[in-house]
Amino acid sequence: MSLAVKAENISKHYRLGVMDRRMLFEEVQSKIARLLGRPDPNAAIGDKRSGGTGEHRSFWALRDVNFSIKTGDSVGVLGRNGAGKSTLLKILSQVTTPTGGLVRMNGRAASLLEVGTGFHNELTGRENVYLNGAILGMSRNDIRARFDAIVDFSGIGEFIDTPVKRYSSGMRVRLAFSVAAHLDPEILIVDEVLAVGDAAFQRKCLGSLNQASRDGRTVIFVSHNMVAIENLCRRGILLEDGKVVFDGSQKEAVDRYLEQASGRAGDLAHRTDRRGSGAVKIVGIDFRNACGETLSTVSSGDDMDVVLHYTKTTPEPFPNLSVFIAVKNHFEIGVFHQNNQFQGTSFGTLPESGSFVCRLRDLPLPAGRYRLNVGVKSQSRGGDLLDQLDDAIEFSVAGGDFFGSGFELPPQAGTCLVRGDWRLEK
């Protein structure tokens, strides 16, 4: 099978600050000083490199990235913020040039790093469709041929001849995405552009990307939305600090990514930002499913155990403990708080080490990133705080079948999942 994209050793180097702060005058001054062999008058104080030619503060956004993508494959690019995903996409879309390496492509590529690039407020929807299409690389005839389909898909209807400045932001996005959806390239490079528009439209966008992939197009897709990646991609490439750390099946890449995201659990015992006396300490956190297997992925609607491993450093029995877990979403909003005392559970005399296990039924969290606060208090001695760790662990919840109907809560539609029984009353 032929390849659509082959990247060989691509690297991207950025210089930080330094260069751009300077004025032309200073730069000329430094150049002259260097020519005359004098110290640079503009060198930072204490800067030993008087020539000013030494290395600037710099970093490699990408380092020796290699991969190849077969024609017709759909690949998700994953990684934490700053892992180099956007840089990679920018290089693939030719917006920026790599510092080193080579990318070769076979086929017409189109990239969507943003929807509605170049939309002009004063122009009508119709004029903007032509303009935006041309910017994305379509010829006028292409656009003319697809114009009706574009307007149809966007649902803009009779407003197509209204200046775009009168559109709601939703209408703008819909029109812009519709243009992009009708690009028909052989290789489609998509950044996280789907986090726009309302839920129904997002589904439509995902559907059209899905269709593109089924039509045999090569799709390269960056997203933080694991559900979207799982639905759309067959393969996953995981980036970390500008390097490819995993390249393989989508499922495994997502697992690795989630593992990476919650990777801090291991050194919990050594965290120094804890509060409390330390008589009982939480030293590790695991998520397990109902069968006792450790989970790397947590999905909405699953039953799962939150396992808090502890050690006790005093001989005290602590018969009356209060242990809590509190979950915050990535907006730092508390979603829920659970405490053994709420449930009327007491643990009795505490062994020297062990685990507090909290079974959460039908995990009511929509897909997203969360953080967990944990704490232990002794109730018998007037509420002594023994241990408290904020942001003890960060974890991701993947979308799941919470409602049992196959429907998922659209992103940003709520912070928790609640079941409801509906009926009609007359």
Partner: protein
């Protein structure tokens, strides 16, 4: 699959064990390689930008498209009053209004080319950071929309021209008029050259954009816009002739007004300077195109 703009941008096809490649992205690209082919492939985009420039600039205005002629008319009127009434500057026996207009119209075309091109990178940073298309599309579109504006203004100029020659002014339109397109091209080359040089530099030094609009204003005073070169002493003439706009405007006048033109050597000097500036601008634009997204 569709055959359209992007397929033809494919620079080279590399054969490798039965594998064909249609596009190669690498860090190395010659500064001196100007990719005209891909600009041509994106001609529809050029057309769209030109259209946008025109349509968008007179939406929600009182005078609408009339703005394209109001500006040179007003400037010409001011010059006619200020220089024609209050000073004794010669106009080479040409009706003053026509004389000033024959300076103002090409000058405003040139100044527009410089100023608009110089903003290419800073004004389009948003688009350039998100989508790739040959960056030269932007200055190309600028030139074309400026040529169209220039055409409108030239038409206006000839309206006055015809009117005044019916009224008996000594005007003779000869075959020399045929060199007008060449002059237009030379002005565009010069304007784009300077604009590109500045736009490449403005990505790093923002104040150059401010300095430029001021500089262009000053430049006008040294460009024979409201005085003929025949008025200058030989010393001044030998200095000012290094301003490539001087031979352009003087030749323009010679072509349409029948005033004596410049010596061929002077015209040649202007063309030579224009070519140097044009290519210097183009190459620095090309060099900037690669790295500017990381600088802006």
């Amino acid at each position: 699959m569709t055959t359209d703009a992007l397929t033809s941008e494919t620079a080279q096809s590399v054969e490798e064990a039965g594998q064909t490649w249609t596009k190669t992205i690498s860090p190395h690209r010659g500064i001196f390689q100007i990719d005209w082919k891909s600009v041509w492939a994106y001609r529809d985009l050029v057309a769209m930008f030109v259209r946008r420039d025109f349509v968008a600039s007179y939406k929600q205005t009182i005078l609408g498209p009339f703005w394209f002629v109001v500006q040179p008319l007003a400037t010409t009127l001011v010059f006619t009053v200020v220089f024609g009434r209050f000073t004794t500057l010669s106009t080479d026996k040409v009706p003053p209004f026509l004389f000033y207009m024959s300076g103002v119209v090409p000058w405003s075309y040139f100044a527009d080319c410089v100023l608009k091109t110089s903003m290419t990178f800073t004004a389009n940073a948003g688009i350039f950071g998100k989508v790739y298309f040959p960056r030269l599309v932007m200055p190309t579109a600028t030139i074309i929309s400026n040529v169209l504006t220039f055409g409108l203004q030239l038409f206006l100029f000839f309206c006055f021209y015809t009117y005044l020659s019916i009224k008996g002014a000594p005007l003779h339109l000869g075959l020399k008029v045929l060199i007008l397109p060449l002059l237009v091209a030379q002005m565009a080359a010069l304007g784009v050259g300077i604009g590109c040089l500045v736009s490449a530099l403005t990505t790093r030094y923002r104040d150059l954009a401010l300095g430029l609009s001021f500089g262009v204003q000053l430049w006008m005073y040294a460009s024979c816009v409201f005085y003929p070169i025949t008025q200058l002493s030989p010393q001044w003439r030998s200095i000012l002739i290094w301003n490539p706009m001087v031979p352009i405007i003087e030749t323009f006048r010679a072509a349409v007004l029948g005033v004596p033109g410049l010596a061929p050597s002077e015209v040649a000097l202007g063309i030579g300077l224009t070519l140097i500036i044009f290519f210097a601008g183009l190459f620095s634009f090309n060099a900037m195109e690669k790295s500017f997204t990381d600088t802006v």
